[in-house]
C-alpha cells in the first residue's frame, strides 16, 4: 500500500514498523533511506516509549469512559443509560418495549459469575426481592440470564433520595418515614434484613411516595475471599447509618434491630439536617463514637442548625432507635412505626409508657385547653384520677399485647437469624453460619406440630435451622466436635486401633479419647513454661515436649526425660520427629541429623549436611529410613542402619537470605513417598521409587504452619494450616480433592482415622472429626443415553422404578442398588411410571400413546395395554388402585378401570397438553395442570370441569394432593410452588425460591415436606405447614423430571435428563448434627434457660448417633 505521492508509507504502516511487525520489503527499504520517514518513525517510537512508561500491569491508565458502552443487550428492553456501577453489578435505566414502562435493570458486572458465591448472592437477591411484594419496596418484574450474566428487572423510580425530597413540614417527613418503616417491617416479616438503610437507598417518587431500594443483603456477607483485593474484610453498610454491632464486625449480632438503628439515624438526619455522629473528620473517631458515645440530643442539633423545634417525644423515639444496646431499641421497625403513629396522633408513645408522670403530662397537654379553661386545681386532680384509672386499664391491655407481640417478635427474630445463617453458609462463611444456626436451633425449642414425632429429621428445634445445618454439613462434613476445654489439644494422633485419639495439651496432659469423646486413658507429663507443642507416638508411650527453647523426649512412667535437646535450632517443630511406633526419635541438632533408638536410648546414626544447613527431618513408618530437607529445598534419604544415602535431590535454588526453612516432612504409609510441606513451595510429594526422587507439586498452596497426614491407603494427603483450612489432595497427582475451613484459627494437628474415611483435627476450638469422601448423602444410577422422565418406589420401598427415553423399565434394589432392566416390546419414550398405593399394579405411559399395566410380576409381558390416539404425558392411580388416569396430548384425560381395562370416562375441557394429572385422595375428583397455565378439576361422577385458574403466560407442570386432600400443591413456569386450599379453591401460600421452571414435585409421606425440582437441575425442600424453605439439593446438571419420596420418607429419589437417577438420604447429616450437639450445648449453656431443652437435645443426639447410615 502506498499512500502518498512522494512514495512515503502512511502513518499506520510506519506504526506497524515501529512495533517491529514485518512490513513489505520495499516499504522497509524506503523507510531506511528516507530521512522524513525515519524522523516520523523516531517520533512514533518516542511516543510509544513515553506511553509505555505509564503503563501499569501492561495497560495504560484509562480515564472513565465518556460515553458508557452498553455492551449489554437484554431482549425486550431498550437500555437508556447507565445509572450506577457498583461492586455487584451495573444498574441501567431501560424501557420495556412491550409496555413502554421505565425499568431499572441490574446486571452482574463480570459477565459469567466470577465465583459461585457471587452467583448465589445474586440469586438470593432476586429471590429476596421477588418475595417482598410491598408498595414501598422496589418490585422485581423479571429476571434471567443473558450472555452468561444474570440480570433482574425492577421498577424504575424517577425520584430523589429521601434526604433531598421536598416536604411541607415535620408532619409530612414523619408520615413518609412511617411508610419506610412499614416497608422495612414487611421485609423483616419475610426474614430479610436490609443492613444498608440510608437516605440514598430510599427514593421518593414524584408523588412523594418512598421506595426502599437495594434489599440486596450482599454488602453484609462477603464471599469467601480469595483475591487479595477482597481480603481486607470490607466494612458492611454505610458508616453514618451503621449500627454499633456492624461497626464492631459482630455479624452474628446483626439482626432486624440493626435496621431499626439505621432508621433512627435516618430520622435523626431528616429532622436535624445533621448525622448523629460526625464521620467527616477521622475514621477512627467516628468508629469510636458510634461504638461508645451517646448520640447528641436531636433537639439541640436542630436548634443549632436553625431547624424547627423537635418535640421531646420525637427525641425519645429517635434516641431509642439509636441505643447502643439492641435490647433497648424498638424490637422491630413495626414497633417504631406504631410509636411514630401514636406521636402523630398525639397519643402517648410506647417509648415512654413506663412513666406515669409522663403519661399525666401527656394527657394534660392533650387537654390543656380545657385544663386551662377550668383553671382549677380540683379539675387537675380529677383529670389525674381519671388518667390513673385509664392508665391502669391500659397497662393490663398493654401487657397482653406485649406478650402476644413478644412471641411473634421472637419468632420473627429467629427466622431472620436462620435466614442469615443460611445465607452465610451459602456464601461460604461457614463459621458464622454454624454459630448463628446452632444458636437458633438450641435456644428456640420447637414442638413438632400435632401428634407424635416421626422420629427422624425432627430434632427439638426449629426445622429451618436444622435443615440449614443439614446443608451446612453437606458442604463441610464435620462428623463430631469434642471440646477438651479448658485444655486445648495441641498434638493428636489416631491410636493403633484406628479410632481412638491420643492427644496432648500444651500443659502436658496426655489423654486418650474414644471417638465419641469418652476419656479412656491419660497421664501428665511435667513441662516447663511456656507451654509446649507436643509430639506423640501412636500408643502414647512416648512424647516430645517442645518448648521453643528446646525439647525433651519422655517415656510414659519415667520421671526424667530421655533426652533434652537445647537450644532448638528452629522456631518450627519440623526439626523433630518421633516415629509413629515411638521406637525412633530424630532431631536436627548441632548442625547434624541425629537418629536415636528410644528404648534403651541409644544414638543410631548422625548425618552431616554437604551443602546447605538441614531444616526438616522425618523417620519412615518402618523406622528404617530418615528423610531430611535442607534450607534450599535439597532432599535426602538415608538408610539408618547402614548409614548409606539412598536418595538425593539437590535443590536448583541459589542461596538467598530470605529463603524460609519451615515445613515438616512426612512419610507415606508404605514409605515410598514423602510429603514435604516446605513453605517456599505450595507443598510437594517426593516419589522415592525412582532415583533421584521426583517431586510432584500440590496444585494449591496452603498457608504457613502446615501439618499433614496421609490416608492409610496412601491415596490422599491432607494438609492443614494457620488459617484453619484443611485441603485434601490426591497424593499421586497433587490435585485438590476438597477444601474446607476446619477451625477458627490454626490447625494444631491432623490425623487420618484407621479406615481412611475420617480425619481428626485439633484447634483452639476443639477436636473435630471430618468425613472424607464424595457427597455421601447421594447415590446415583447413571445410564448412558437414558434421559430419565419418571420414577416411583415399590410400596415396600425395596425397589425404585425409573423410566425414560429408552423405553425400558429400570428396577433398582434399594438395599444393594443393583439395577435390572425390563424390556417389554416398547421402544417409545416412557414419560411416566406409577405404582398403585396397594402395590398391586404398575403403570407406564409412553409417547407411542400406549399405557401399559402390570398386575403381578413386573416382567416382559404387561398384563394390559391401553391405547390412546396421541402420546401420553402422565399416568396416575387412584388411592385404592382401581382406576388409572392418563393425560394424553389430545387434551383429554381418560380414566380406565384397571381390573378389566375399560374406559370409564373421558374428561374434556383442557386447551392443550397436560403434563400431569392426579386423583384426589377421595377418588371423586381428578385434577390436571395444563401447559397453557390453567389448573382444571373434574368431578369424576359427572365429568363436569372447574377451572381453578385460567390460562396464564407461564405453563403449569406438576401437581400433588396432600394425603388429607385438603391442599393441592402446584408448580410450573411461575417458578413458585403454590399451595391451594381445596375447599376454598384459593392459592393460600407460595413458596418462592426456584430460579427456573418447576417440572416436578412430591409431598413427603408425613405431609411435612414438599420437594420440588426445576429445569435447572435444582431440587428444593420446603416445610409445608410453615411455608418455609428448608434445603436445596444441588447435583443434577439437567432438568429434574420426577421426584418421589420413599415410602418411609427417609430418602428422596430424583430422575433427570442428565442421564441419572439419584437417591438422596435426607437423614444423612443427622449424625453430623448430632455429633456437634454436645460441643454446641457447652458453648451456649450459659444462655440456655431451659435445662429440659438441653436434656432433650442430648437424648436426641444419643439416639441419632446410634442409628446406622442408610447405605
Amino acid at each position: 500500500m502506498s499512500g502518498s505521492t512522494t512514495g512515503c508509507p502512511p502513518p499506520d504502516v510506519l506504526e506497524g514498523i515501529a512495533l517491529r511487525q514485518p512490513g513489505p520489503q520495499d516499504v522497509e527499504s524506503h523507510v531506511a533511506s528516507c530521512p522524513a520517514c525515519r524522523q516520523s518513525l523516531h517520533e512514533i517510537q518516542a511516543n510509544n516509549r513515553f506511553l509505555s512508561a505509564f503503563a501499569l500491569d501492561g495497560a495504560l491508565p484509562s480515564p472513565p469512559a465518556v460515553e458508557p458502552q452498553h455492551a449489554i443487550d437484554i431482549p425486550g428492553y431498550d437500555i437508556v443509560r447507565e445509572i450506577h456501577r457498583g461492586g455487584q453489578g451495573v444498574v441501567y435505566q431501560a424501557v420495556q418495549r412491550s409496555t413502554r414502562r421505565d425499568v431499572a435493570i441490574k446486571v452482574m458486572k463480570h459477565g459469567p459469575f466470577a465465583t459461585l458465591a457471587d452467583r448465589a448472592r445474586f440469586e438470593r437477591e432476586v429471590e429476596t426481592l421477588s418475595r417482598l411484594n410491598h408498595p414501598n419496596i422496589v418490585a422485581v418484574h423479571d429476571a434471567g440470564m443473558i450472555a452468561g450474566s444474570s440480570y433482574f428487572v425492577m421498577n424504575y423510580i424517577d425520584g430523589v433520595p429521601l434526604d433531598e425530597a421536598q416536604a411541607t413540614g415535620e408532619r409530612e417527613v414523619i408520615e413518609r418515614f412511617i411508610q419506610v418503616c412499614d416497608a422495612v417491617h414487611a421485609a423483616h416479616l419475610r426474614g430479610v434484613i436490609h443492613r444498608d438503610l440510608k437516605p440514598s437507598n430510599i427514593r421518593v417518587d414524584r408523588a412523594g411516595r418512598p421506595h426502599v431500594l437495594d434489599f440486596g443483603l450482599a454488602k453484609s456477607l462477603e464471599s469467601e475471599p480469595d483475591s487479595a483485593m477482597t481480603r481486607t474484610g470490607q466494612f458492611v453498610g454505610s458508616l453514618p447509618w451503621a449500627s454499633p454491632e456492624q461497626i464492631e464486625g459482630a455479624s452474628s449480632k446483626v439482626d432486624l434491630r440493626t435496621d431499626v438503628y439505621s432508621l433512627g439515624a435516618i430520622l435523626f438526619q431528616l429532622l436535624t439536617g445533621k448525622l448523629p455522629f460526625d464521620v467527616g473528620s477521622s475514621l477512627r473517631d467516628a468508629l469510636d463514637d458510634i461504638l461508645t458515645r451517646e448520640p447528641p440530643r436531636p433537639s439541640a442539633c436542630a436548634q443549632a442548625e436553625g431547624r424547627p423545634r423537635i418535640d421531646d417525644e420525637l427525641e425519645t423515639i429517635i434516641l431509642r432507635c439509636l441505643s447502643k444496646d439492641r435490647e433497648r431499641r424498638y424490637q422491630s421497625a413495626g414497633e417504631l412505626a406504631r410509636d411514630l403513629r401514636r406521636y402523630q396522633a398525639g397519643e402517648p408513645i410506647e417509648a415512654k409508657r413506663d412513666s406515669a408522670v409522663y403519661l399525666l403530662r401527656k394527657t394534660l397537654r392533650r387537654y390543656r385547653m380545657r385544663v386551662a379553661a377550668a383553671g382549677a386545681f380540683l379539675v387537675l386532680l380529677a383529670v389525674f384520677s381519671v388518667v390513673m384509672s385509664l392508665l391502669y386499664r391500659r397497662s393490663s391491655l398493654l401487657e397482653q399485647q406485649a406478650l402476644r407481640s413478644a412471641a411473634s417478635l421472637a419468632e420473627l427474630l429467629s427466622q431472620s437469624n436462620i435466614e442469615n445463617g443460611r445465607l452465610a453458609g451459602v456464601l461460604g462463611n461457614l463459621e458464622q453460619a454454624e454459630q448463628l444456626l446452632w444458636r437458633e436451633l438450641l435456644l428456640h425449642r420447637h414442638t413438632n406440630g400435632d401428634g407424635p414425632s416421626a422420629g427422624f429429621n425432627t430434632p427439638p428445634g426449629p426445622p429451618e435451622a436444622y435443615w440449614a445445618l443439614w446443608e451446612l454439613y453437606r458442604r463441610r462434613p464435620c462428623l463430631r466436635t469434642l471440646i477438651s476445654d479448658p485444655l486445648v489439644a495441641r498434638g493428636a494422633i489416631v491410636a493403633a486401633n484406628g479410632e481412638d485419639l491420643w492427644t496432648a495439651t500444651g500443659t502436658g496432659l496426655i489423654q486418650l479419647f474414644s471417638a465419641s469423646g469418652r476419656l479412656l486413658d491419660g497421664y501428665p507429663v511435667p513441662v516447663p513454661t511456656p507451654p509446649a507443642i507436643p509430639l506423640l507416638a501412636m500408643d502414647g508411650a512416648f512424647s516430645v515436649g517442645w518448648y521453643g527453647a528446646g525439647c525433651e523426649l519422655r517415656a510414659r512412667g519415667r520421671d526424667d526425660p530421655l533426652i533434652v535437646i537445647s537450644p532448638a535450632p528452629s522456631r518450627d517443630e519440623s526439626f523433630l520427629h518421633l516415629s509413629r511406633s515411638g521406637r525412633r526419635f530424630a532431631a536436627l541438632t548441632e548442625g547434624a541429623a541425629v537418629v536415636w533408638k528410644t528404648e534403651p536410648l541409644e544414638e543410631l546414626a548422625r548425618f552431616m549436611p554437604e551443602s546447605a544447613e538441614f531444616a526438616a527431618i522425618a523417620i519412615s513408618n518402618d523406622d528404617r529410613r530418615v528423610a531430611v530437607r535442607d534450607r534450599l529445598g535439597g532432599f535426602f534419604v538415608w538408610d539408618v542402619e547402614s548409614r548409606t544415602r539412598i536418595r538425593a535431590a539437590s535443590s536448583a535454588l541459589p542461596e538467598r537470605d530470605s529463603l524460609r526453612a519451615p515445613g515438616e516432612l512426612h512419610f507415606s504409609p508404605d514409605d515410598t513417598r514423602v510429603a514435604d510441606a516446605w513453605i517456599e513451595t505450595a507443598g510437594r510429594i517426593w516419589d522415592l521409587t525412582v532415583d533421584p526422587p521426583t517431586a510432584t507439586e500440590l496444585v494449591e498452596r496452603a498457608g504457613s504452619h502446615r501439618v499433614q497426614s496421609f490416608s492409610p491407603d496412601g491415596r490422599l494427603l491432607a494438609v492443614a494450616d494457620l488459617g484453619g483450612y484443611v485441603r485434601i489432595f490426591d497424593a499421586r497427582s497433587g490435585a485438590l480433592v476438597s477444601r474446607f475451613v476446619a477451625h477458627s484459627g490454626r490447625v494444631n494437628s491432623i490425623s487420618f482415622t484407621g479406615d481412611g474415611r475420617g480425619i481428626w483435627t485439633t484447634g483452639q476450638d476443639g477436636m473435630r472429626e471430618w468425613e472424607v469422601g464424595d457427597d455421601p448423602c447421594v447415590r446415583e444410577l447413571r445410564v448412558p443415553g437414558e434421559l430419565f422422565h419418571g420414577l416411583d418406589f415399590s410400596r415396600d420401598g425395596s425397589e425404585l422404578l425409573s423410566v425414560g427415553l429408552s423405553g425400558v423399565l429400570h428396577r433398582t434394589g434399594s438395599s444393594d442398588w443393583v439395577t435390572a432392566t425390563v424390556a417389554f416390546g416398547n421402544d417409545a419414550t416412557i414419560s411416566a411410571v406409577a405404582v398403585s398405593d396397594d402395590g398391586a399394579h404398575v403403570a407406564a405411559g409412553t409417547y407411542s400413546g400406549a399405557a401399559y399395566v402390570w398386575s403381578g410380576a413386573l416382567d416382559a409381558s404387561p398384563e394390559r395395554r391401553l391405547d390412546h390416539p396421541n402420546r401420553l404425558s402422565y399416568v396416575a392411580f387412584n388411592r385404592d388402585g382401581s382406576l388409572l388416569a392418563t393425560a394424553c396430548d389430545d387434551a383429554v384425560v381418560r380414566v380406565w378401570r384397571v381390573a378389566d381395562g375399560t374406559l370409564v370416562r373421558e374428561l374434556h375441557g383442557a386447551a392443550g397438553r397436560m403434563p400431569q394429572v392426579r386423583f384426589d385422595p377421595t377418588g371423586q375428583r381428578v385434577a390436571a395442570v395444563v401447559r397453557d397455565g390453567s389448573l382444571l378439576v373434574w368431578d369424576l361422577a359427572t365429568g363436569a370441569v372447574e377451572t381453578w385458574t385460567g390460562p396464564r403466560p407461564t405453563p403449569l407442570r406438576t401437581l400433588r394432593f396432600t394425603a388429607d386432600g385438603r391442599q393441592l400443591v402446584v408448580g410450573g413456569g411461575q417458578r413458585s410452588v403454590d399451595i391451594w386450599d381445596v375447599e376454598r379453591k384459593r392459592c393460600v401460600a407460595q413458596l418462592v425460591g426456584h430460579s427456573q421452571e418447576i417440572y416436578c414435585l412430591d409431598i413427603s409421606p408425613d405431609g411435612r415436606q414438599i420437594a420440588s425440582g426445576d429445569s435447572g437441575g435444582v431440587i428444593r425442600l420446603w416445610d409445608r405447614e410453615r411455608a418455609r424453605p428448608l434445603a436445596t439439593l444441588e447435583g443434577h446438571t439437567a432438568s429434574v423430571m420426577a421426584l418421589r419420596f420413599a415410602p418411609d420418607g427417609r430418602t428422596l429419589a430424583s430422575a433427570s435428563l442428565d442421564q441419572s437417577v439419584r437417591e438422596w438420604d435426607l437423614t444423612y447429616y443427622d449424625r453430623h448434627i448430632a455429633g456437634q450437639v454436645d460441643a454446641q450445648l457447652r458453648a451456649i449453656e450459659p444462655q440456655l434457660e431451659d435445662p429440659e431443652g438441653a436434656a432433650a437435645w442430648r437424648d436426641w443426639a444419643a439416639a441419632t448417633l446410634q442409628s446406622q447410615a442408610r447405605w
Binding site: P225, G233, S282, G703, G723, V741
Partner: protein
C-alpha cells in the same frame, strides 16, 4: 511562578513542594491546603486501593491520613530532612490501614481466615506509591489535554479508544468515521501534546 491550571477538578500538580509545604503551616491558607489535597488525595486513594481497600474505605483512610498529616505537620513533627514527604504519608496511611484492619480482624478470624494480612515492605510501598503517582499524573495530563487543547472530540476519542482502551483500530475507525491513517495521526499528535504537558509537570515539580 506562572501556574497553568487545568479546569476545576483536574488537579494540577504544578506547584513546588517547598512552596506548598510552607503554605501549609499557615492554618488560614486554604489555597495551600486545597492544593495539597488536590495533589495527594488521588494518589493516596489509588495507593490504598492497591493495598486492597474498597473505594469507600480508601476514601476514609485517605481523609484520615491527610488530616493527620496536616496536624502533625503544623505541630512541626515532620522535618523534611529526615525523610521524603512520600514516606511520611505512606507511614501514616499504613498506620491508619492497620487500625482499620485490626478492627476487622475479628471478623476474619471468625470466618476462619488468618487475621494477619501481609503488609508490603517499605520498598514495595514506595514502588506502589510511585506507580500510582505516575498513573495519577497521566490521568491528570489526559484531563488537562481534554480541557485545554484545540483537538476536536473525535481526535481525543480516537486516542483514548485505541491507545488507552486497546480497541481495535478497525472498529474505532468505522465508528468514528476516521481512516486508519487519520487515527494514527491523531494518536501521535495527542501523545506529543501529552508529552509536553507531562514534561511541564515534571519541570515544575
Amino acid at each position: 511562578m506562572n501556574l497553568r491550571r487545568g479546569a476545576p477538578g483536574t488537579a494540577s500538580i504544578t506547584n513546588t513542594t517547598t512552596e506548598l509545604l510552607d503554605g501549609l503551616h499557615d492554618s488560614g491558607n486554604r489555597a495551600a491546603w486545597d492544593e495539597f489535597d488536590r495533589r495527594y488525595r488521588p494518589i493516596l486513594i489509588a495507593f490504598l486501593r492497591r493495598m486492597g481497600l474498597d473505594e469507600t474505605d480508601a476514601a476514609d483512610v485517605a481523609q484520615d491520613t491527610l488530616t493527620c498529616f496536616v496536624q502533625d505537620y503544623r505541630a512541626r513533627k515532620y522535618v523534611r530532612e529526615h525523610g521524603r514527604l512520600r514516606s511520611w504519608l505512606i507511614g501514616i496511611a499504613r498506620c491508619r490501614l492497620a487500625d482499620l484492619r485490626r478492627l476487622k480482624g475479628r471478623r476474619r478470624e471468625l470466618r476462619g481466615e488468618s487475621a494477619i494480612t501481609e503488609m508490603p515492605n517499605d520498598s514495595d510501598a514506595d514502588a506502589i506509591w510511585e506507580a500510582e503517582k505516575r498513573r495519577v499524573v497521566f490521568l491528570q495530563a489526559v484531563a488537562e489535554l481534554r480541557e485545554t487543547t484545540r483537538f476536536n472530540e473525535r481526535t481525543i476519542q480516537a486516542f483514548e479508544r485505541v491507545v488507552l482502551r486497546h480497541e481495535p483500530v478497525e472498529s474505532v475507525s468505522a465508528e468514528l468515521g476516521l481512516s486508519a491513517q487519520e487515527i494514527y495521526n491523531a494518536k501521535n499528535r495527542v501523545v506529543e501534546r501529552l508529552r509536553e504537558i507531562v514534561a511541564r509537570y515534571e519541570a515544575d515539580a
